[in-house]
């Protein structure tokens, strides 16, 4: 939590989930510190991640016949939900369908989780990208998504 000196001082005195728990382990704390130091000069990592996001978004909308945008009226089975980050969701009609789709992707070598109620209001495949994904890996995912049958 980041904030004013007074807010942080207040939280050290009033936030039970900080006061009454064992301090974060030295290993976790040191790893987090190293991560912050890398992120501060990590423009290259962020632009790699965004290249992947843009590649996937464009390909999902133009190359996969079963997909429509969430705002469109057509009744294709996969709907791309609005996103501005490294998470892209394809909504399916029900929990059973999204489980099936996730299993079909796994048979093709892709790990894309099925996220269902009560975690979310509607069932969807949730694709999350990493800066370390290569363009050909994202292309392989798009080919696998094309093969989904529900």
């Amino acid at each position: 939590m980041a904030g004013s000196a007074a807010l942080i001082d207040y939280l050290r005195n009033r936030a039970s989930s900080w006061i009454y728990t064992t301090g974060l382990s030295p290993a976790d704390t040191a790893a987090a510190l190293a991560a912050v130091q890398i992120i501060e000069k990590g423009q290259a990592l962020r632009s790699q991640l965004w290249q992947g996001i843009n590649q996937l978004k464009t390909a999902v909308l133009t190359e996969i016949p079963q997909v429509s945008e969430a705002s469109s009226d057509c009744d294709r089975p996969l709907r791309l939900l609005p996103s501005d980050a490294a998470i892209l969701c394809l909504q399916l009609p029900n929990p059973g369908a999204v489980l099936q789709a996730s299993q079909q992707l796994q048979q093709q070598g892709m790990f894309v989780p099925a996220i269902r109620p009560p975690t979310v209001p509607t069932s969807r495949l949730r694709i999350s990208l990493m800066a370390s994904h290569q363009p050909e890996q994202i292309a392989a995912l798009v080919r696998a998504l094309c093969q989904i049958q529900i």
Partner: protein, 203 residues
């Protein structure tokens, strides 16, 4: 019948709704390629967006910290669990976020639970986005404050509920994700700054 028979029935209901879930074992570190229960797969299920969880620089820092301070802190931060590395991390986060100070909780979930409950209580109002993360939702429920949800990212609904209810309560906390973790969309934070100054905000 066993007094705990209701647990089996509850699990059966979860199965029937196709809501049942269980853990699956991954062999190696977080990376684009993983081995899930013996099968080699491309990983599109990680929140390690910048790919740092498997970074050798972080591993090296963690190993050095273990050699210096051990694997556990042996106490809460206020009693005997505070180490120089905590102070360094909190300074680094404050500098990065351009704030005067920062506080490191043991997880994001605990940070949200603890902060929300420190800020508001039974005499207060919480207005929360209906798609907020579970930690914000649960944190808000625990406060005992009046909890009202507004439609996802809907400033019109938020303003209307504020205008209708704000006067009946001591403090008001507006609660939203920045990046909504389930959909990947963003809260339009700039439009929040346009709220009237008497409507206290905090995210």
């Amino acid at each position: 019948m066993s007094p705990y028979g209701w647990i089996d029935q509850a699990l059966e209901t979860v199965h029937r709704a196709d809501w049942y879930r269980s853990v699956r074992e991954i062999a190696g570190p977080s990376a684009p390629w993983i081995e899930l229960e013996g099968q080699r797969l491309l990983n599109f299920a990680s929140n390690d967006y910048l790919g740092l969880a498997g970074d050798p620089r972080l591993a090296e820092a963690a190993i050095t910290a273990i050699q210096t301070w051990g694997t556990g802190t042996g106490g809460s931060r206020l009693v005997s669990g505070h180490r120089p590395i905590h102070q360094q991390l909190e300074r680094a986060i404050a500098t990065w976020k351009q704030t005067a100070a920062a506080l490191v909780f043991s997880s994001g979930y605990l940070a949200n639970l603890g902060t929300i409950n420190a800020l508001v209580g039974g005499r207060d109002l919480i207005l929360a986005d209906v798609y907020n993360h579970a930690s914000l939702k649960q944190g808000a429920r625990l406060t005992g404050a009046k909890l009202l949800e507004y439609r996802h990212k809907n400033m019109v609904d938020l303003r209307a509920q504020l205008a209708r209810h704000r006067g009946e309560y001591r403090r008001c906390l507006l609660l939203t994700d920045g990046v909504f973790s389930m959909d990947g969309d963003l809260c339009p934070l700039p439009s929040w700054w346009a709220l009237p100054p008497n409507m206290r905000r905090c995210s």
